[in-house]
Symmetry: C2
Subunit: 403 residues, 2 copies
């Protein structure tokens, strides 16, 4: 088999863990597999480098920031190579540019455009374990780029697609994908498998296991992923195309605290007002999620919507600057809200699911502030202090514990 | 003017010093010069990285070691670029491979074969300050290489040659080249200028200001160097072709403690014995320096020579393994010796110079163990405990203080 394995920063945080990873890699290699390993920077390295930069310049150019940050993966990949050398395995480490990871020029958040995998394949042909720096690439000017959040996962999946890997394993510090966050619900169940679409929803709803971009890429190229722990030896969760996934109506419950609600009072109730409003936010790259409009009266209406909490300041500023354009009076906002969602592929054709979710919340006396639904998810906005209780109630109601 | 400036590790050891360097670079740029800056890794970074490697593998491959160590310069170059951005100067940093530093494949001690300066020149054309990582390059396989000791000096001189720079400034933590080590002789004089040849001798004799490779390269391409302090604003020492150098018989006194003497007793006194002996050492890459043969008697002779102290163990081992071949009886060695040398271009045609040096040692009661001379230097081997006194006596005798 041709396997791509990705190890995150906690998996290679110190010399001992680097050796653990090396042993695991070697065990796959010794079984006759071809192995490509994608590594992140060790533990806090990236944060330390950011700190170093801030001491000098609080707003460095993104190009130079990428030059700086890309050293983190270069360090960890060489150390992992040295550990494998120590174990007697033939190995070579490659930076993003050496591995042919070609990206666009969006420094700090670049997208992979193409992987020129010639060098990697040549090294594999020579029976070497190939270690590739995650999170980084080069653009057409030969400048170093980084891929932004979840970048190493994306590197791994893109590499798996480029070389036609049989399996792409994402090693992390959890044992797989759970029906909900085990820190909230201790008897949450680990899923054996989950579809790409369900995983995307869970990821974007705050499950924090795999980054969305990597799952979307895996779906696009139909690369089977396995999410598993680098600290234990057990099967993780397989993320794959929908057909093979076991049938279960609700797959997981997610909670997302990175959300804020904005309400605009007394907006002109005329065609185009909402369009103008959301265009303004789109121009500032602010994602609007759940939207709720009141019925108008006296030619005025209220409109509420959610944005990521990190975008709140910028959103409010933008709106205030343009308030008069909509004839609006004032803007209210609330950071103390959370989004709680259930995800499952079979949901759309089962109207009872939503009712069951709302019933769970009602019986726990949790007020629903906003609702949004899609083909495979139902999200509600609740007070942040009640979000964990909401997750527990819903998780319990759908019988997801100890599956 | 097109200027190449090189800053060593102590010059960029922390955020404050990085800013000092940035200000100096900007002042040259603001005067209308084109500036290329070569940087070393910050302070102890390289040692820290070596330590990290040793935790994992005490004998890592040199290829992976180069991958690891080259991150040091990549970090410092990006930080310096950020500091210049903060000061409002247009700037770009380039790694060894981005700057076109092509080397052979001798990992850990690579030689620059060619510099493809297209990218650098393009950035200079756009009025940017160009920062280049010292000490590193790539070989023809696109693997990262490092240049070994004194590598950043070599990078700077090679770059200066490639782009046809008007001046190459080597910033360090001393104010220039002195007539001798100011820690030994406090009133040693800073030289205004010195020839390449004299500088090579001083460097190889333990003056520790510029690495030999860089001076030899500067001589080959006739690149004028200036050695100066990054902590002060004053003229340093110009190192240049011999014709412009002021006439002074003795330019400096050097001391080298990294030397050991080996004596082989009762070697066969026949043609080829010495040849066989030194061939053996050459095969082990051991540099033999001063050689002294006694006159033979009874078909036997003694032979003494010096080697770098770091090569002593290997030399003694090699010789012991082959002792019988030379009919020799035993090997003696002595690490408590130092080489004290005077350097000056006009020396060869002035026989009085040697006599004056020996007189200085005689009047201080310092015994000369061995002597060696060349066109521009005279070296003597003395007991290590007397070496500093020897330097002071000679420095004084030639009137080199407070020039």
């Amino acid at each position: 088999m041709l396997i791509v394995q990705k190890y995150g920063g906690t998996s290679v945080a110190n010399a001992e863990r680097v050796f653990n990873v090396a042993k695991r890699v070697k065990s796959y290699y010794d079984e006759g597999n071809s192995v490509i390993v994608v590594v992140s920077a060790q533990g806090d390295t990236t944060d330390d480098l950011i700190e170093k930069a801030k001491e000098i310049n609080d707003k460095p150019s993104k190009r130079e920031m990428d030059v700086l940050l890309s050293t983190g993966e270069q360090i960890s990949m060489s150390l992992l190579a040295m550990a494998l050398e120590k174990l007697g395995a033939p190995v070579i480490s490659l930076t993003g540019w050496q591995a042919g990871m070609l990206t666009n020029s969006n420094h700090g958040n670049a997208r992979i455009k193409k992987i020129d995998s010639e060098r990697i394949l040549r090294e594999l042909d020579q029976s070497k374990i190939v270690i590739v720096a995650g999170f980084q690439g080069i653009n057409k000017y030969d400048d170093i780029t980084t891929l932004g959040r979840g970048g190493s996962d994306t590197s791994a999946v893109a590499l798996a697609a480029a070389v036609g890997a049989d399996l792409c394993q994402i090693y992390t510090d959890v044992r797989g994908v759970f029906t909900t966050d085990p820190r909230i619900v201790p008897n949450a169940s680990k899923l054996d498998d989950i579809s790409f679409d369900e995983m995307v929803e869970l990821a974007s709803l705050g499950a924090n296991v795999l980054h969305n971009r990597s799952v979307e890429l895996a779906k696009k190229f139909n690369i089977e992923l396995e999410v598993l722990s680098s600290l234990e030896y057990e099967r993780g969760t397989i993320v794959k195309g929908v057909k093979q996934v076991e049938k279960m109506l609700v797959r997981g419950v997610a909670r997302d605290n990175d959300v804020a609600r904005i309400t605009i009072k007394n907006l002109d109730d005329e065609p185009g007002a909402a369009f103008k409003l959301f265009s303004l936010l789109a121009k500032k790259n602010i994602n609007v999620d759940i939207i709720l409009q009141t019925l108008g009266s006296d030619g005025k209406q209220d409109i509420s919507f959610t944005v990521p909490e990190s975008s709140l300041e910028s959103a409010v500023e933008t709106l205030n600057d343009n308030l008069s354009e909509f004839g609006a009076e004032k803007i209210l906002f609330d950071k103390n809200v959370s989004k709680v969602s259930i995800v499952g592929a079979g949901m759309a054709s089962n109207p009872g699911v939503a009712a069951k979710m709302f019933e769970a919340l009602y019986s726990a006396n949790i007020n629903i502030l906003m609702i949004s639904t899609s083909e495979i998810k139902i999200s509600v906005l609740v007070e942040q202090s009640l979000a964990e209780a909401a997750v527990r109630e819903i998780h319990d109601k759908f019988g997801l514990a100890d599956l």
